[in-house]
Symmetry: C2
Subunit: 436 residues, 2 copies
C-alpha cells in the first residue's frame, strides 16, 4: 500500500483508508455491509431530496438507487462505514475529508453530480439544508493581519508551477467573463479584465489601487491597455514575486508597483479602487475596515469595484472549503456586503451577477487540472489531487445551482455627481459626463 504523506491541505488520513482505492480493495478490508448501513444511506439520500444519483456501499452494491435509471447522472460510493457516518454527521467537512482521503468515490461528471444533488436539496426545502446533522460547525478562521497572511499562504503559495499547469497563460485566478459561448478561457479572462476596467472608466494617467492582485494580471492589463499607474497589494509572497518578474519582463515596472502588504495598509489617493477576488478572504468582521480603506483612498470623482463570490442569503461558508481549501474565507450575501458601503454612504451604482461565468471558468479549470492530474500527484499526492478536484468541481456545481453567486459591485462617493449616467462606457455607446 502506498505510503501516505502529509500534504499542504492538512486533510487527515485515517487508519485503513486508501489514497488510491482500487475497485475491490476497499470492499475487501471494510466491515460487512449490514441492513443498518443500507438504512442509513437511504436516509441520507432522502435527506438530500432523493436525487437521481446512486449511492453505493463498500460491497459495490447500490444501496440507494433512484427510481428512473435513465435519469441517473452518477454514483457516490462510500468505501467504508466511517466514510458514510462522517458524511452524515458532517456533510461538508466529513464528506470532503473522506472523499479527499479516497474513502468516497464519485462516478460521473463531478460538477453535474453535485449540481444534481444541490438542486435536489433545494427542492427538498430547508430541512435538507442542515449543515451538520450531529456535530457543530468548525470554528471559522479569523483574519487578523497575521491570520490573513497564514491563510493566503496556505492556498496561494502552493507553488506558481502548480497554478501554471491549469490556469490561463496570464495566470488569472478569478471568474472569467465569456462574451459569447465560443470564447476560450484565455479570451474570457481578457474580456473580464476589460469589463472591470471599463466599469471603473479607466483613462490614461489615472492612479489606480488594486487590493488583492494575485499574480498581477489585472494590474498589468490596466497599465498596458489603459495607460494608468497601478499600486497593487497582495500578501502572497510567491504571487508578488511572480508579478514583479512579469512586470519587468513586459516593460511595465515603471507603471505597476507590486506591494507585498495587507489591504488594510493601503495609503495614498487614487482615481479608482479595484479589488477582484479578494473580498472572499477578508471576512465579515473586516468589512467596515475595508470600507474605511476605500473611503480614505478613493478620490472624489473616482469609481470603485469589488468583485467577489457571494450568496443569495447570509449563511455560514462551506465548512470543508473554509477549513481545507480557503481558510478564513467567507462568501458574503449582498446584505453582508452593505457593511462595506453603508458607513460612508457609498452610492452603489451597478451590481452584476456572473455566477454562470464562474461555473464555466471552474469547469474549464477542472478539465485542465484533470489533464495534469499525474503531474500534480507527483508534486503533492493523491489526496491533494482529490481535494482539489472536489473543490473545483464542487464550486462549479454550486455556481450552477445558485448556491453561490459572483457579484461585481461598482460604487462612488455620495458627494460626487461625476458618475456615469448610463452604462454606455461599458457597452460602447456614448456616455458623456453630465455636469450636474
Amino acid at each position: 500500500m502506498k505510503q501516505q504523506r502529509a500534504h499542504p491541505l492538512g486533510v487527515p488520513t485515517m487508519p485503513g483508508s486508501q489514497a488510491a482505492p482500487t475497485d475491490d480493495g476497499g470492499a475487501a478490508r471494510a466491515a460487512r455491509v449490514t441492513g443498518a448501513d443500507r438504512l442509513l444511506v437511504n436516509r441520507l439520500a432522502k435527506a438530500v431530496g432523493s436525487p437521481p444519483v446512486a449511492f453505493a456501499l463498500w460491497d459495490g452494491v447500490d444501496a440507494y438507487a433512484p427510481g428512473d435509471e435513465a435519469t441517473v447522472v452518477g454514483r457516490l460510493t462510500f468505501r467504508d462505514r466511517a466514510a458514510l457516518i462522517s458524511s452524515i454527521a458532517s456533510p461538508e467537512l466529513g464528506f470532503g475529508d473522506a472523499y479527499s482521503a479516497g474513502r468516497i468515490d464519485i462516478d460521473g461528471d463531478m460538477p453535474r453530480v453535485f449540481f444534481t444533488i444541490y438542486r435536489s436539496m433545494a427542492e427538498a426545502g430547508p430541512g435538507a439544508r442542515k449543515r451538520s446533522l450531529f456535530g457543530r460547525l468548525p470554528k471559522p478562521q479569523v483574519n487578523t493581519r497575521a491570520g490573513s497572511r497564514k491563510h493566503i499562504h496556505h492556498h496561494y503559495d502552493l507553488g506558481n508551477e502548480f497554478y501554471r499547469l491549469w490556469l490561463d497563460e496570464k495566470m488569472v485566478y478569478t471568474c472569467a467573463y465569456y462574451p459569447n459561448r465560443e470564447a476560450s478561457l484565455e479570451e474570457a479572462q481578457i474580456a473580464k479584465m476589460h469589463h472591470v476596467c471599463r466599469k471603473v472608466r479607466l483613462k490614461a494617467g489615472m492612479r489606480v489601487v488594486e487590493a488583492g492582485c494575485g499574480w498581477g494580471s489585472l494590474a498589468m492589463h490596466m497599465a498596458e491597455h489603459y495607460g494608468v499607474q497601478v499600486k497593487a497589494f497582495n500578501i502572497s509572497h510567491q504571487q508578488i514575486d511572480y508579478a514583479r518578474e512579469q512586470a519587468k519582463a513586459r516593460g511595465l515596472a515603471d507603471s505597476v508597483e507590486f506591494i507585498e502588504d495587507d489591504y488594510r495598509n493601503v495609503s495614498g489617493k487614487f482615481d479608482a479602487f479595484v479589488s477582484v477576488g479578494m473580498l472572499e478572504h477578508v471576512g465579515k468582521d473586516n468589512y467596515k475596515t475595508l470600507g474605511d480603506v476605500v473611503y480614505r483612498s478613493l478620490k472624489r470623482g473616482g469609481l470603485g469595484i469589488i468583485h467577489s463570490v457571494g450568496r443569495s442569503r447570509t449563511a455560514p461558508p462551506n465548512a470543508w472549503l473554509e477549513q481545507r481549501i480557503f481558510p478564513g474565507s467567507y462568501p458574503p450575501s449582498l446584505r453582508d456586503m452593505m457593511d462595506i458601503f453603508e458607513t460612508h454612504e457609498f452610492s452603489i451604482l451597478d451590481i452584476e451577477n456572473l455566477r454562470l461565468h464562474y461555473a464555466e471558468t471552474l469547469m474549464e479549470w477542472l478539465r485542465r487540472f484533470d489533464g495534469h492530474a499525474d503531474e500534480i500527484t507527483r508534486m503533492y499526492d493523491e489526496s491533494f489531487v482529490r481535494a482539489w478536484r472536489l473543490y473545483l468541481g464542487g464550486c462549479a456545481a454550486a455556481f450552477l445551482a445558485s448556491t453561490i453567486q459572483l457579484f461585481q459591485v461598482v460604487f462612488a462617493h455620495p458627494d460626487d455627481n461625476r458618475i456615469p449616467m448610463t452604462r454606455g462606457h461599458v457597452y460602447g455607446t456614448d456616455s458623456p459626463d453630465w455636469d450636474l
Copy 2:
C-alpha cells in the same frame, strides 16, 4: 386676507400664518426680532454645516449670512418665530409644514438651495443629520390592505387633470431614463419603458404581471411594443379608470387587463414580474410578503424587475414627505430590500442606480408644475402648490445629493439557468441563451 381652505394634503394652517405672504406684510405682524432669534438661526445654520445659503428673519434682515457672498445660492426667510422654532424642533415635518403654510420663503433655485444644504449637512458629519432636535419622529403610517388603499388614494387620486398638467403625455409618474443629455422628458420616459422591458427580456406571447401600474403607461407600452399579455394591478381608482379608457382608445383592451386590486392578491403564473415605483409604498414590514407574491407568480425561466427609490443606508423616511405627500412610504436601502429576495433565495442578476436620472426627471416636472402654478392654485390652494413645489424640488435635491437613490433590481429564481449570460439583451449586443 385670503380665506384658507382645507386641502387634500392635510397641511395644518396656523393662526396668523399667511398662504401668500407679501414681502413686508408678515414682518409687520410678527413679533420683533430679538438677539435670541438671531442666535437661534445662527445655531441652525451651524447645525446644517453653515451652507452658502442666507437665513433671514421676519425683519427681512439676513441673521445668518455666509462668508463669501459670491457663492451664495439662495435665501431662506423665516416669516415668524413659530416657523423658526418648528424648523429647529422638527427640521423635516415642522419646516415642511411652515413652508407650505407660507411662513417660510425660499429665494433661488429650490433644488439647488436644498442640494447645497444637503451637501453641507453631509460634510458637517453625522451630528448634522439629526432628524428631530427636540421631538420624536411622527409614527409612520401602516400599509395594511385598507391602509394602502387610503394612502394611495391620498396621493394618486388627486385628479387626473392635475397630473396631466405637468407629467409627460403618457402620464409616466416614475424616474425617466435619459439616454443622453438632449433627450426630452417624453423621450426619456419612453427610453425608460424600453429599458425595463429589455431588462426582463420580453418576447411576443409572454404573460407579464405588473404590480403598481400607475396610469398604465408601461403596461400598454409592453403590450404595444413587445406583443405581451399584461395583467396590471393598482389600487388607485382614478388611475385604473384612466388606464382602462386609454387601453380601449389605443386598441389594447384585449392585451392589457387593468385590475383594481392590491399586489398581495396577484394570482396566476407569469413570464415576467414588473414593478416600477410601487415598492416605495409597500413598507418594510411587507417585503417578505412581496417576495412570496413574486415567488408564486413568476415562472421558472422568467425575470423580475423591481424599480424603486432607495437609500444608501437604512434610515427613517423624511417625516414631512411620509406624513404629507406619500403616507406609508418608505425608501429602502439595498439591505432592507434583501427581505424581498432572501427567503426564496432569488438570484439578483443586475442592479442599476439611476439617481441622477430621477433628479433630472423631478427638475423637469417642477418646471412644468411651476408653469401651471396659477391653474393648480385655482384647483386646490396656495399651500398645496407650495407643498408640491417643496416635494418636487426637495426630492430633486435629495437625488442630486445622494440622500436617496433609484435602484432597478433584476432577479430570477435560483433554480433557473436560462438567465441572461451578459447584458447584451439590454445594450443591443448578442446574447444567445446558454444551455447550462
